[in-house]
Each structure stands twice: as C-alpha cells, then as structure tokens.
C-alpha cells in the first residue's frame, strides 16, 4: 500500500474530498469511488476515448490521469452535461440522429464533442472528423456521429444568436 494523499475535486459541480493513493487512476476514482459510471473503461491506454472527461476545461482520457494530477481540478463527465429529462443539445442530437449503437463510446464521444464545439463552434465535416479522431466507435462507422455533432452545432449556434 502506498501512502495516501488528501484529494479535493469538483465533479459535475459537486465537491468531493477523500484520501487516495496518488497513483489511483482517475477513471477508477470516478467509477468505483464516486459511482459515476458514464465514462467507460475501454482500452486503458488512452487510445479509445471511452473514458473521456473534461478536466479543467480540457478533454482528457481518464484512464491515464493519476488522481494526484486531478487534485483541485474541476471535472465534468457525461452525467454533468444533462439528465435524460433535460439533455444537452449534443446529447439530444446523438439521440435523435442515431449517433450511437451499442452506446459504450457515447459518453466519451459526447464529452469530447462539447470541447470540440467550444474550440470550434462551427466546424466543417472534415474538422469534426479530425477533431473526434481520438475517440473510437466500433459500431456506427462515424457517419451518424458526425451528423449529430453538425446538428448540435447548428442548434447551439441558433440558440446563441437568439439569446444575443
């Protein structure tokens, strides 16, 4: 047993505080310690993206982030984007445009897409494809994922214009 470290973090707006070995991986902190099971375990080598979460405003693969690196961080997972009754526009778009099949990659895919649209609110199809290239989907062939993100971008831009 290694020495434990005092960790504080905000997860989906909620303050969390606990003792953990610094080498604990963030994906286990989320899934096993905090019972936040939306981010999934896929490859455990940061290639598949099923565990993607937002950490201090950046997309990260939670399977290769130590909990010590996340001390004091603000973390958003798929659970923090919306609930089944009040979905984020990206969640609605993935649902309505068939941007999923088995659904296992979906939480990571959508979490990554939120950052993509922050970085580039009006991406071309090509930009979406390259911007999402760190997340593997084995089912859909990506076509409907790209469509979903395009649709969400249009929706979010229209809402922003209406608000201005």
């Amino acid at each position: 047993m290694g020495k434990k470290m005092h960790i504080q973090m905000q997860v989906n707006g909620k303050a969390e505080e606990f003792l953990a070995e610094p080498r604990e991986l963030l994906i286990y902190t989320l899934r096993e310690r905090l019972n936040i099971t939306g981010p999934h375990i896929g490859c455990e080598t940061s290639h598949c993206g099923a565990c993607t979460v937002t950490l201090n405003g950046k997309s990260v693969k939670a399977c290769t982030v130590f909990v010590a690196q996340a001390d004091g961080a603000e973390i958003t997972t798929i659970e923090g984007l919306g609930t089944p009754d009040a979905l984020h526009p990206l969640q609605t778009a993935f649902k309505e445009h068939h941007g999923l099949q088995c659904g296992y990659c979906t939480p990571g895919m959508i979490t990554r897409a939120t950052k993509l649209l922050e970085e580039n609110p009006n991406p071309t199809e090509e930009e979406i494809r390259f911007g999402m290239a760190g997340n593997i989907c084995r089912c859909t062939g990506y076509q409907n994922i790209v469509k979903s993100i395009k649709a969400a971008a249009a929706e979010m831009n229209a809402a922003k214009e209406a608000a201005e």
């Binding site: 099923a50 088995c102 390259f130 290239a133 062939g141 994922i145």
Partner: protein, 777 residues
C-alpha cells in the same frame, strides 16, 4: 392514423436516452454486492511447450489474495468447449498451446491485487516447436482442428482443362480483432443449493449457462445467465465469454462470495479469439468473354489451438467463395489448420468475407487478363435463370443482384467517374486513383440448422403495459427496438407501452446465439407468435361476450373494436383480466424450408440471400503507399426494412469495420508466438478521420423479402461488412496503373500502406507494360 413506433418506421434505439446521458447500465456498471471479490488469470509465456513446474506460492502469499484456483479445483470437467469436442481446457495443465493461454486464476480483495498477484507465478516449460501461421502449420503436416469440407458440383478437372484461359493464384487474407469497446467481463453471484447467477457480456447466454453448469458439475437449471446489453459483440462474445464466466462462477461457489472478472484490454486481445486468417489457392478457367467455366479452390485457415467455431466458419467461407457468381464446374476444399495461437472464432461474416473476397479477386484477375473493366466480368457471371445453382446445390431463385448493381452504377455515376480515374492516371503523376464496384450476396441462416429456432415471452399486465422478453441479446444492433416495434404493431399500441427486458435464461430457455445476422428474423417472429396467441385469446373472449364471431374483434389504433364498439386498450385489457383471460404467452419460431447435409455437401442451408453493392474511389500516394478513400457509394438490400434508420447505421458501421479489416487492422505475431498488436496503440482501428470523405449510403427501397420473414424484412448485421471489398480492389487498380493495368497487383490483406508501397515497388521494377486496358462502354 397510425401508432407511434410500429414497423417500417425510423425509430431511435430504445436505450438512446440512457446512452447519451451515461445512464445505460453495462455489466461493469452493476453495483457490486457487498463482499465482491475480483479474479484474474495467470497466462502462459510460451507458444508451445510442456509445463515442467508451476510454483504458485508467491501468488498465494501476495497481499489481498483470497484463493488460487487451478484445474484441480474444478468441480466438473476442465473444459469450456461448447461444441462437444472437449478440446478447450479452461486451464492448460500439461501442454501449453498458445502464448497467453490461462494456467490458473487468482481471487483477491481487489482487481489490482489479483492482477499483481497473478504476475508472481513461477512456471517453467520445456519449449516445443510452434507453428503460429498457416505456412508453418502446413510445413508441420497441416494438422486440422475439425473435419474439413468439400463442396463440389460437376467435374472441375476436365472443365478446367478445356477452358480457353486459366489463371492460378493465391491470396493471403488477414484476421481481425473485434475490439468490442466493452471488454470481456463476468460477475457471478452465488445462491442457495447449487445455484449461481451470472451477469456477463455475452451473445449466447444459454451457452454460458451450459458451459458453467458443466464446469460446476450441476444441472443447467441451477445456472442463470443475464445480459441487458453489451458494449459491442461482433461475434467476439459468441463463445469467448465462456471461460471467464466459468472462472467467476467456480470462484463464487467455492468461496460463497460474489466474484467479478474483467480482463485488461491487452490480455483480452492476447487471449481471446479473432477473425480467421486465410490463405486461398485458386485456379479459374474462363472464356474470351470473361465467363467463368471452372473454379478450383483450397481455403487454408488459421484456426488456433482448438476447434471452437472453426468448423462452421471455414464451411461458411466455402459457402461464399462464389459470392454472386455462377461456377459451372467447381470444387472447393477447406483446411481448418491447427496453429499455436489463440483459437479463432466468430466475427461478423463468420468466414463468409474470406470466401467472398476470393471470388472478387478471381473476377479481378480475369479482368486484368482480358483487359476489361472488372464490372463487365462481374455482370457476365452473375447468377441468373438457368445459371443458378450454387456449389452447395442450392438454387438462387430471386436473382436481384443485377438490379442492385444497375441502380448503383447509375446513382454513383460509375462509368464517367471510372473514365475520369483512367484519365487522371494516364497523366502519370505520383498520386494514382482507383475505383471499383463490388457486389455482395450473403446467405442467411445458421448452417447448424437446429440453431434456427427462437423463443419469446410476452406479458400483458392488467394496466395495459406490455413486457417482452426473447432469446436475442442487444449489442447495439437495435434488436430490442425492432422486436418492440413488432410487438407494438401486433397489438396496435404505441411503443411506449412496450418494455423489453434483459435477456435471461430463466425467462426464455434454450436460446441460440445472437449471431449469423439472425437476431431479428428469429426473435421478432417468436415475439410475434406470442402476441398472436394473446390476441387470439382476447378475440375469443371478447367475441364470445358480444355474441359475435372472433373476426369481429379488431385490434386498431383507436383501441380494440368488437363489432362497432371501440374500447381503449388499457380498459379492454383491464376487463379481460377481471374476466380471467390469460394475458401472458410464450412464442416460438423455427425457420422453415432449410436443410443441409454436410456429408454430401448438398442442401438448402440458407433461407434467403441478402444483397448489396458498393463503389469506392481511392487516391494512393505511390511514393509512400499512403492512401485515402475519396468516396464510397452503397446500395444495400434489407428487404422491407423494419427500421430504416437502424438498418442504415448497420450498413455504415459494417462497411467501416470491413474497411478496417482490409486496410489498417494488422495482427502481428513475433517469432516467439506472441501477439504484438494487442492494444489500439499498435492495432489501427478506423477513426472518424479515416472514413470515406464522401459517403453515400442507401437502402434498396424497392426490395421485399420473397420469403415470409418478419414483415418481409431481411437480416442486416453481417452482409454489409463485405461491401468494403470495393476499397481493396480500388487500391489494387490505383497500384495497377503504374504499369498500365497489365498486371493484377494481387494486394493481400490488410492492404496497409506498407503493403501498398511494396506492391507499387514490385510493379515499378517489373518490365515495361505490353498492353493497355481497353475501356468498356
């Protein structure tokens, strides 16, 4: 007015809202019961050898370890083979047959402790020579894991001898890892008596039930297997879950605590089966018009250390070695070779793609030889009236291949684009282009005829809500959505009233694997039959009460009408309950018409065929071998689609997965017999930036299954996987342009940039071209 969510409608996946919000529960998300322990495996570190000593004392002494389980600790047989061959030990005891073979299991308080402990085993081996690939296996005498098959019609030798042209060739076809995003895992919870309940990610709960019962030495009734959904399966969870479920169950019963086993991805890729690699050796005889006269073929498969599903997989390769083409005289032989690798298994297409791709290569070879557009050769050889008998003596009766191809030729603007590609290449630059149109004809049904059965259980509750259970499993393909649509349509109620529940062996017994694209065909029909049974009881009751004939009772969108009186569904059901009508029924279905005699190689193994075609255009950098798929157009036949949106998703996903198989996904074993591409870091799976830049996918809207399948639809899971062959043959053409299309470059698969570059170099160093491709009209 129509109901919401009936058949032939675009409907979102039944779990979509949960998927997008992270609330869909996978097996790994199930809250672990108090006291759950974690198991892990110790793996062999030689590809072939005898175990001389095995010392597990350090494993037992490691922190957190509760128990170590070896073959001696198994209550039943040390065997997880599902086919009765008894050739698949759970743990290797004396002889190790592949690198990564499980030797023992360790159970600890945490998964981390179990993994660390498993690495502490001290095992010595007398290493023995190993054969990990097809060539080495043949050199070692070509041992077979299962009896081979021969398909034969006519007399191939004299037909070949008399043919005006003959070509002999060979093709190497790579394997493929499933890379289901959710890896293999199993949670076993012990119960009273001999009972154990297993939650796991499997396409075949009944088989897990049987294999676990066998290993525990208990009757099947003591084991219950439940799966709500999988994070992808693709065939990789048809038999491959068995061992992990057994270990969890054995440990759970032994320790009387819940036990969970989830493999690390690298171990998952190293120690579970994959798509079979093949080597095909073929000879084709043909006439001046490119019409095939005779085909003789040998199909060698890397099967791994045991039989698993290699028999039916290699059979299916032969069943599809004709693709859509009539071979007047033909002989095809399978060689399911034993190799010192993990046992290969089911993977979308199940050997079919490896057979089909050889038919396409044969056609390409003929086209290059005659200097024609391969499409002309394809058309000249399609099955048609009078030329409609397959190598397994089943008659092709629908013959819609040409219709599919004609439509795609028109909508993809094939002729003009091919001319443009030829013109581009004629300029002689570094970037070369290629375009190819390839068809798919795929036989639907399990070739193990008894597998073509399904059961369902439908409950109508007294409030009018409906619960459906059936033997199929949901792995993302939308099976549950389609079955719910069938049920909603049968009762003429909105789909919101219908709830599909987890697949579980204590609700519907003796199920078949959700495989062979058959999930909806079989389970949809079984569910419909259950609904019809309930409707018949309701109609008899209501008619009797009203003094009318049963035909006077109509289930309509407004409710149930009895004569001129219409009653709201929920009220109608409530009244039926009060009058003591049984509102629950089982349904059963077995596919009619099919039969197959493997000894004679004759029968009707397939109920029907699904068709499709694709055109792909590629650009190749001939100095680096790198390439890009510029555009793909697909027209695919799913009969009268139950849910076009879901079917389109299946077609797109299958195509991209097929493209991965043929282009970037390379399995590579080193000289010690270790798989070195055991993670997505080294094993390249297509990502969003790899798909065709323009991707036009359509369903053949005019198609309708001629057989009375569920609502005249057709299976969709596997057939579109093979549409990706157009990418391979387009790459082949781009390379061929380097010497004026005088030679077929015969790209093996996967056609990685490295292989493409080597093919370019081979042509560059070849003598100058003697002839130029004639362009067909």
């Amino acid at each position: 007015m129509s109901i919401k969510g009936g058949v032939h409608q675009d409907l979102i996946h039944d779990s979509a809202a949960k998927h997008v919000s992270g609330r869909a529960e996978y097996t790994d998300d199930i809250l672990e019961p108090v006291g759950t322990l974690h198991a892990y495996l110790g793996f062999s570190t030689v590809a072939h050898g005898r175990i001389t000593s095995i010392d597990l004392s350090a494993v037992r002494a490691a922190p957190g370890v509760v128990e170590v389980i070896t073959a001696d600790d198994l209550p039943g047989e040390n065997d997880v083979s599902a086919n009765g061959m008894h050739d698949e030990p759970l743990f290797a005891t004396d002889e190790v047959l592949f690198w990564g073979q499980p030797l023992f299991a360790v159970v600890a308080e945490t998964r981390d402790a179990a993994r660390r402990a498993a690495a502490l085993a001290e095992v010595s081996y007398d290493t023995l020579p190993h054969a990990t690939d097809i060539a080495a296996s043949r050199a070692a005498g070509a041992p077979l894991v299962t009896p081979p098959l021969t398909l034969k019609r006519g007399a191939v030798k004299p037909a070949m001898a008399a043919a005006p042209h003959r070509i002999k060739g060979q093709m190497e076809i790579g394997g493929q890892d499933h890379f289901y995003l959710e890896g293999q895992l199993s949670l076993a919870i012990p119960g009273e008596d001999e009972d154990v309940r297993i939650f796991c990610s499997t396409q075949h709960p009944t088989e897990v039930q049987h294999v676990v019962a066998h290993a525990l030495g208990v009757p099947a009734h003591s084991v219950t297997v439940t799966v709500r959904r999988m994070g992808g399966g693709f065939g990789g969870k048809e038999t491959q879950m068995n061992a992990f479920a057994v270990i969890a169950a054995v440990a759970a019963k032994r320790l009387n605590r819940p036990v969970k086993l989830r493999l690390d991805r690298d171990d998952d890729m190293s120690s579970t089966g994959k798509r079979h690699d093949f080597l095909a050796e073929y000879e084709v005889g043909f006439d001046d018009e490119g019409r095939i006269l005779a085909v003789d073929g040998d199909f060698f498969a890397r099967c791994g250390f045991c039989s698993d599903l290699s028999g039916p997989v290699t059979d299916r390769a032969l069943f599809h070695a004709d693709n859509a083409y009539f071979y007047p005289d033909v002989e095809l032989r399978s060689h399911p070779l034993m190799t010192h690798t993990v046992s290969n298994t089911a993977f979308r297409g199940f050997g079919g793609p490896q057979g089909l791709i050889v038919a396409e290569r044969i056609v390409e070879e003929i086209a290059y030889h005659l200097g024609r557009d391969a499409l002309e050769v394809r058309r000249a050889n399609f099955y048609g009236p009078g030329r409609d008998l397959t190598p397994y003596h089943q008659q092709v009766t629908d013959n819609i291949m040409a219709e599919v191809v004609d439509e795609l030729v028109a909508t993809s603007n094939y002729a003009a684009r091919r001319q443009a590609v030829l013109d581009w290449n004629a300029k002689g630059g570094i970037i070369r282009k290629g375009i190819a149109l390839t068809p798919v004809k795929f036989g639907i049904s399990f070739t193990a005829t008894w597998f073509n059965q399904a059961g369902a259980l439908v409950h109508v509750y007294s409030d009018g809500s409906i619960q459906v259970n059936h033997g199929g499993t949901e792995m993302g393909q939308g099976l549950h959505t389609k079955v719910a649509q069938v049920v909603a349509e049968a009762f003429q109620v909105d789909i919101d009233r219908v709830k599909i529940t987890a697949t579980t062996t204590d609700k519907v017994p003796n199920t078949s694997a959700t495989a062979a694209s058959s999930g909806t065909d079989l389970n949809g029909m079984a569910a419909l039959n259950a609904c019809e049974a309930i409707k018949a009881r309701l109609a008899a009751w209501a008619a009797d009460k009203a003094g009318l004939p049963a035909e006077a009772v109509v289930f309509g969108t407004e409710g149930v009408s009895v004569g001129d009186k219409v009653t709201d569904w929920a009220k109608f059901i409530g009244a039926a309950y009060m009058d003591r009508v049984q509102l629950s029924a089982t349904g059963f279905y077995k596919t009619p018409e099919i039969h197959w005699n493997r000894d004679t190689g004759q029968g009707r193994p397939f109920y029907y065929f699904a068709y499709g075609a694709s055109v792909s255009e590629v650009s190749v950098d001939t100095l680096t071998g790198e390439y890009r798929v510029e555009r793909t157009d697909i027209l695919h036949d799913v009969g009268k689609s139950l849910n076009p949106a879901i079917d389109l998703g299946q077609v797109e996903g299958a195509f991209v997965q097929g493209m991965g198989w043929l282009t970037t996904e390379e399995l590579w074993w080193d000289d010690k017999g270790r798989l070195r591409t055991h993670a997505p870091s080294t094993y390249k799976i297509p990502v969003a930036s790899d798909i065709p830049r323009e991707f036009n996918v359509k369903l053949a809207s005019w198609s309708e299954n001629r057989e009375p399948t569920i609502k005249r639809s057709k299976a969709v899971g596997e057939p579109p996987f093979m549409l990706a062959v157009s990418v391979l043959e387009a790459l082949n053409m781009a390379v061929a342009s380097l010497d004026g299309y005088a030679n077929c470059p015969k790209l093996d698969t996967p056609a990685t940039p490295e292989r493409v570059l080597m093919a370019c170099e081979a042509l560059r160093s070849a003598p100058a071209p003697a002839k130029v491709l004639e362009i067909g009209e």
